[in-house]
Amino acid sequence: MIQKTLDVSELPPFSVSNDDPLWWGQMLMGVIEVMLFAIMIAMYFYIRLSVDMWPLPGDQLPHKLLPTLALVPLALSFPAAWVASEGAKQDNRGKMLAGLGLNLALAGAFLAMRIVEWHSFNFEWKADIFGSVTWTILGLHTADIIGDMGFTLVLFVIVLTGKYAQKQRLGVHVDSIVWYLVAGAWFPMYVVIYWGPTLVGAPR
């Protein structure tokens, strides 16, 4: 029996673009993270509404200066990630290296500022629910930042050593998607953690 055929031999192998299933996979991983943070934020407000004083007596509000300054490198890392992903699409090694390197440096600066800031906190996670929920949100997000920095670093090394092909370029492209989501998720959480108590902190 002879059948009609659809010849695909002319189609490109790999596509460094949003058409690749990997892009969807990373998007969905990002959705999982975002969902996790959304639940944490919902929890934060649920807890806030179930107590009379916020923060609970004995806790001081975290300082706002350093975390606000830390938003600057974080915001600048978006264009860096974008440069890397454009470089990946155009197969431009220089752009990829610049984007990935810059992204790493800015994320590192953000992380350093956050760790410095932690030393100024006067509430422990063991103290009460305010400490628990605040520290957990910060801890989860920091773990995400470190995780994605590790991913970026590995790609940086791969590109630097030249051991890359389409597949790794695709990796660079989707790495920026993850970074947009991980870094972008911080902005609402920043508002909740640092401004939330001021905005909704008055005793009921």
Binding site: T5, W24, I129, K163, G171
Partner: protein, 640 residues
């Protein structure tokens, strides 16, 4: 859009092995190394899917044995067969096993096996992630049973309400093991959900536009999205709230420091209710597949069926408070959930009506899978109707946490998921093994299971109304519960006989069953275009969809894809909506890294049961594993 190249140049005959050279090359590209070591490198979806199915079935048997132990204990009043402590461990393990180690992984395993075949592709989108997910599930299950066998089984119920499950009232490692087991299985579920969505959206056969997607694939697409939205909640509930409270003394559920036990219930049930639909929606896909093959027609009302699946999924996220009607929340707030819980019956109703319409106008063939579908309709409708009762706040106040609820959820879960699953086993067994299952034995199995099931669980409705609360290890003789309980226990043993017959059928048909050929049921979807059992590459030539039921389309309307390379693992990526070919994608080959990474991460997670600091080496180990996993290695990956 990439242009489609349609050239009648090459002629192929996908039916017979005319192109021996082509098949040999494909075989070489898609096979894993054969040694013991090679066993752990498998990444083809049929291999991983089969491992999921077998492992989940083993846990199903373990859960079934636990059920028999419980029924034996409850057979009559003041029984001393099990101690209170043992009983509490067993019912918790039973619930946990059935939900996390049987139902969800089984549905995932079936999907991992079937979805790529139904889509006409060669593997899932992320084969190594798939293997990793399987090993995480396996290790999670082993962790739980390691606990059970060392008398460290969880004993706080499968939803582990704090403060009972908190550090103060459950010292020891029992609850930690439970909570970490959840972490394992949720990671596994998320892996499968991610890869299934990517596969269904991007790797369908050319021209399989959304209106041609088999209903089973729709159900898995929708179920996977539910997993993505629901599983993070259980991560927050078990891994964050419960485990952190237990290991590093946070106060999420400690009322003394501002925490709130009800918050745990909200978060847990925000996962827990959708979980029921995560189990149930794939089963609806099984039923649709079986019904269309056994009525010789497409399911009536395709758009309505898709709507019903999607509606079930989204309304499913608005029901969780109906597990909390007795906690004293504002009644007006609770009533929103009554309304949503009742509305979800509409979507179930639409499906039942559409199947009835299909059977009404089809040419029904009464094979074993169809028996299970009919049994499903009978049992599930009853379970659905008791669900409507439970949606009512006042009725729920009476029957909540009683055997009425136990009866209800076994009607919807066994009736709604296990009966279709057994139907699916009988239906796809020829595809998976190349041989038919024994029909006579199959029908005997069905009747034994059906009678045993109703005998076990119907009396529980009455027991619940007569005041028997759930999770009690014994009851006094004056309560008048003895007869119904004895009946239920006998029923449970009858179910066990049905299960044994099923296993016997599976094992004996493996050798003695009639050879099945490619399409023994003359069904319409693409998995029947592959050999039985499918070779590691599934299809010699990828099929092109010629409608919703390509196998029913006239031969002249059908086509196959040519021009795919056969010397490496290539699959075709198509567009989301209309499945126009976009590019060829090279999938990774066999790899030991998923197993190794799972071993490292899993070992770390087991460590965290003993202390929070284990998370740090776990993170490092995971990093090492992932770097090894993603590090570019094979030179053929580098070539364009």
């Amino acid at each position: 859009m990439t242009p489609i190249i349609e050239a009648p140049g090459e002629t192929v005959d996908p039916r017979a092995g005319t192109n021996e050279e082509h098949r040999k090359k494909l075989e070489r590209a898609w096979s894993r190394p054969g040694r013991i070591f090679g066993f752990f490198t498998a990444t083809t979806h049929t291999a991983i899917g089969m491992r999921y199915i077998i492992t989940a079935f083993a846990f199903f048997l373990a859960g079934g044995i636990e059920a028999l132990l419980m029924r034996t204990q409850l057979a009559f009043s003041n029984n001393h067969f099990l101690s209170a402590d043992r009983y509490n461990q067993i019912f918790t393990t039973h619930g946990t096993t059935m939900m996390f180690l049987f139902a969800v992984p089984m549905m995932e395993g079936m999907a991992v096996y079937l979805v790529p075949l139904m889509l006409g592709t060669r593997n899932v989108a992320f084969p190594r992630l798939n293997a990793f997910g399987y090993y995480m599930f396996l290790f999670g299950g082993l962790l739980l049973y390691a606990g059970v066998l060392t008398n460290t089984g969880p004993d706080v119920g499968w939803f582990a309400y704090p403060p009972l499950s908190g550090p103060q009232y459950s010292p020891g490692k029992r609850v930690d093991i439970w909570a970490q087991m959840i972490t394992f299985t949720e990671i596994s579920a998320l892996c499968v959900a991610t890869e299934l969505i990517a596969t269904i959206l991007k790797m369908r056969a050319p021209r399989m536009s959304l209106n041609r997607l088999p209903l089973y694939c729709w159900s898995m697409l929708i179920q996977s999205f539910m997993v993505i939205f629901a599983m993070p909640a259980v991560m927050v509930a078990s891994t964050i709230m419960l485990l952190l409270d237990r290991t590093v003394a946070t106060h999420f559920v400690n009322p003394a420091a501002g925490g709130d036990p009800l918050l745990y219930q909200h978060v847990f049930w925000f996962f827990g209710h959708p979980e029921v639909y995560i189990i149930f929606i794939p089963a609806l896909g099984f039923v649709s597949s079986i019904v269309e093959a056994h009525t010789r027609r497409g399911v009536f009302g395709y758009p309505a069926m898709v709507l019903a699946l999607a509606g079930t999924a989204f309304i499913g996220f608005g029901l969780w408070v109906h597990h909390m009607f007795a906690t004293g929340l504002p009644q007006i707030g609770e009533s929103f959930f009554t309304a949503a819980s009742m509305m979800i019956a509409i979507t179930s109703g639409i499906q039942i009506f559409c199947w009835l319409a299909t059977i009404w106008t089809g040419r029904v063939r009464m094979h074993t899978p169809m028996y299970f579908v009919l049994g499903f309709i009978f049992i599930f409708v009853m379970g659905g109707l008791t669900g409507v009762m439970l949606a009512s706040v006042p009725l729920d106040w009476q029957v909540h946490d009683t055997f009425f609820v136990v009866a209800h959820f076994h009607y919807v879960l066994i009736g709604g998921a296990v009966f279709p699953l057994f139907g699916a086993f009988h239906y796809w067994y020829p595809k998976m093994t190349g041989r038919m299952m024994n029909e006579t034995l199959g029908k005997i199995e069905f009747w034994i299971l059906f009678i045993g099931f109703n005998m076990t669980f119907f009396p529980m409705h009455i027991l619940g109304l007569k005041g028997m609360t759930r999770r009690i290890y014994t009851y006094p003789p004056e309560m008048g519960w003895d007869n119904a309980n004895a009946l239920a226990t006998v029923g449970a043993y009858i179910i066990a006989i049905g299960g044994i017959l099923f296993i016997a059928n599976v094992l004996s048909s493996r050798k003695t069953g009639a050879p099945a050929g490619r399409n023994p049921w003359d069904a319409g979807t693409l998995e029947w275009a592959a050999d039985s059992p499918p070779p590691p590459y599934n299809f010699e030539y990828l099929p092109v969809a010629a409608g919703r039921y390509t196998m029913w389309a006239p031969a002249e309307a059908r086509a196959v894809v040519t021009g795919m390379r056969d010397d490496r693992r290539e699959v075709l990526v198509t567009s989301i909506m209309d499945a126009e070919p976009q590019h060829r994608l090279v999938l990774p080959g066999s790899s030991f890294w998923p197993f190794l990474t799972a071993l490292l991460v899993g070992g770390g997670f087991v460590g965290t049961v003993f202390g929070f600091n284990w998370y740090y080496p776990t993170a490092v180990a995971a990093g090492v594993g992932l770097i090894g996993w993603f590090w570019p290695k094979a030179p053929r990956d580098l070539r364009p």
